[in-house]
Symmetry: C2
């Protein structure tokens, strides 16, 4: 048995530090269930009070009384641009370079297909083998559509060296979805540019967490998720970034009417809208987008850098408080040990990861499991406090030391893991 | 001045017929604003009470308390399939042939691109010149991605004759978005099959209105809209149909994880899900989809054929009640004069269509305008009653006879027309 009193940080000290932290009052914006310590904000952000109110208003105050008039009176037609404009400063982009539309997968397809058309003489798309699977699937699908294109897949450390004059496009995630390790967004974007290739970043696991400056990095394109740190709700619309220098030449392969320069003129031929608006395709899901737009209230006035710094403090605290228990029970840290190389979550491998995560959830500590053996604990900086981390570490020790996770009910697989 | 008393149908008679109509009680499912006669259900269906309750439940009863657990506990992961299963009987499809995902534009892209891969030796995509513009834009975008493909655009009447052994795919709308004229879905699907081509139907303007039997017609693929007659809310997810005989060979070009056979195994390579589930791409917008799923309550137990029959009764009544006024004021009927050739809306051309529609909206009759000169009045059979049609005809006469539409305020263009 491990001795919790030897951990070094006390609950009282955590509470004092929480009280002093200027980000702590923002946690009141969440409608969190009682008793739950939610360490899964990297997968689905919790409900915000502003999103709850906005969806109710959109349904009962707009769709109900205005019906079709809502497109003008409630400015639904401007909602994607207004949402994109709130995301733009979080990623170091101008509003005109940012669109809010569709899903990450669909946006990745549009940008990757459009990027290949900007580099017609190059036939290689480069990605890392540890890439988030759906990004790989989308590129595989694109390669079937364009049999002249070759997917070159390399380990993360070999990305820079694998760039060559044949490379049309580099696709990479800012944070590894498994380990949380951050990629060198700036260095890789510039290395891609140096060989004449374009860079396309998946910011799903860092937007709303890390300070991202796409334009300073010289990145060409990006996609990102609306439902993780941005708290837009399950399946919230995604976003896409297209650097201004590509606006003149870029064509969206999914040339739907919402990306047309004049959608309500019902012209026979497609003319792209200006800027990143051309990345839109069909009619956007207004109810889901209203939730995302409202949740972006969270980031108004938050100092750049404060979010990731707090998240790293929390993950380091958790790591320290659980270190002896984790070692004693066969956990291996899969994330970088140095906090400054990490995004917002901490990952461990354990051969019994699945039932352990289920037992932790039953004990009120919600992390998640990724096949085959990965356990992730997320430290969404606006959601989680130091005192919660302290309590989560206690519960972690209790679950492991008492071996409650061996109860067979925790091994029963659910649809979503 | 026209004489309303000469119209032949009285308001009292309309009210009596409304009372006798078994579909009338269904109108109580809508939360319609008072005083408004809503003739725009072909553009955006009104809020249903079940959608309003479902969205509230999804936000406050699921996302709030369950957060990530909602994917299993509230079965968000099964929501697209459950929604598709409710749409399938409305289009003559099996649930396994139907998917609910993304927008009409994105689904059209997936199916058209996938269809071309099923007919690799054929290079022509055939469509009508009066096709809904976004469908044309999407096909133009696909042709840019596949420069070997030729778009062949012909007048509606020449579609059948233009099919030839070079044709890979016929793309057509079941109802013309301008005139409401219905295409011969069965005859054209069979004519396409006879030359070895595939057929892809846009059912946006008929789903939830007409009796559609895609399998009896021999259609190969279809897409359709969730926010018109299905009342799924602004920008509701769309649906897609893929006939069972194509399930083995069809690959979704936008190969996102939700269309993977085992999305939560996080495998490196893409394996398509069984059946139409492979048409999914990214994570679906759950809040918007919950509204669509709930509004489909409307169609439970409604006899096939009853909806379009009632809609045609209403449009014919409107046409008769307004005929003399319309003629006197220079309206031309753009829809087929024979009700049995029409879908759910009636269209007129008028050089002053824009201000006339605005003046009618101000008078409580909501129709819509499509550039350059088209006025559409929709008769969503569950939303509109005979007595409302009678009153709408009165207001139409008042607006035209008093020329209120000449007020310059009605000519001021809004973003969405």
């Amino acid at each position: 048995m491990t001795n919790p009193d030897a951990w070094g940080e006390t609950l009282a000290e955590c509470r004092r530090l929480d009280q002093e932290d200027p980000l702590t009052p923002l946690s009141r914006q969440f409608a969190l269930p009682r008793g739950v310590i939610y360490l899964d904000g990297h997968s689905l952000g919790p409900l915000t009070r502003s999103a709850s109110a906005a969806v109710q208003r959109t349904v009962r105050g707009e769709w109900g009384p205005m019906i079709i008039g809502g497109w003008n009176e409630a400015d639904w037609i401007g909602l994607p641009a207004r949402t994109a404009a709130r995301i733009a400063p979080l990623i170091g982009a101008e509003p005109e370079e940012t669109a809010c539309a569709d899903s990450v997968s669909v946006n990745l397809f549009k940008l990757a297909a459009g990027a290949l058309a900007l580099r017609p003489d190059r036939k290689t798309v480069l990605m890392v083998e540890s890439e988030f699977p759906t990004d790989g699937y989308v590129l595989q699908g694109l390669a079937r559509l364009r049999p002249d294109i070759r997917l070159k897949i390399v380990p993360a450390g070999e990305l820079k060296g694998a760039l060559d004059p044949e490379t049309a496009l580099l696709v990479a995630s800012h944070a590894d979805y498994r380990t949380g390790a951050l990629a060198d967004l700036s260095g890789l974007s510039q290395a891609a540019a140096a060989v004449g290739a374009l860079s396309l970043w998946d910011l799903s696991h860092t937007t709303g967490l890390a300070t991202i400056d796409l334009n300073a990095a010289g990145a060409d394109m990006a996609v990102g998720c609306g439902y993780k740190y941005l708290c837009g709700g399950p399946g919230a619309p995604a976003f896409a970034f297209l650097a201004r220098r590509h606006h003149a030449g870029f064509l969206n392969p999914i040339a739907g009417w919402m990306g047309h320069a004049r959608p309500f003129d019902f012209e026979a031929n497609y003319s792209p809208a200006s800027g990143a608006d051309r990345l839109m395709a069909g009619t956007p899901p207004i109810l889901s987008m209203a939730a995302l737009h409202a949740s972006l209230d969270l980031f108004e006035g938050v100092a750049p850098g404060a979010l990731l710094a707090r998240s790293r403090t929390l993950s380091s605290l958790f790591e320290r408080l659980t270190a002896s228990v984790a070692t004693a029970h066969g956990f291996s840290l899969a994330s970088p040990a140095e906090a400054e190389r990490r995004g917002g979550h901490l990952a461990y491998t354990h051969p019994d990861g699945y039932p352990i995560v289920q037992a932790l959830i039953a004990a009120g500590v919600v992390g998640d499991f990724r096949a085959p053996d990965l356990i992730r604990f997320g430290f969404s900086p606006l959601v989680v406090s130091r005192s919660q981390v302290w309590t989560a570490a206690r519960r972690f020790a209790a679950v492991m030391d008492s071996e409650t996770w061996r109860n067979p009910s925790f091994s029963r697989r659910q649809t979503v893991t």
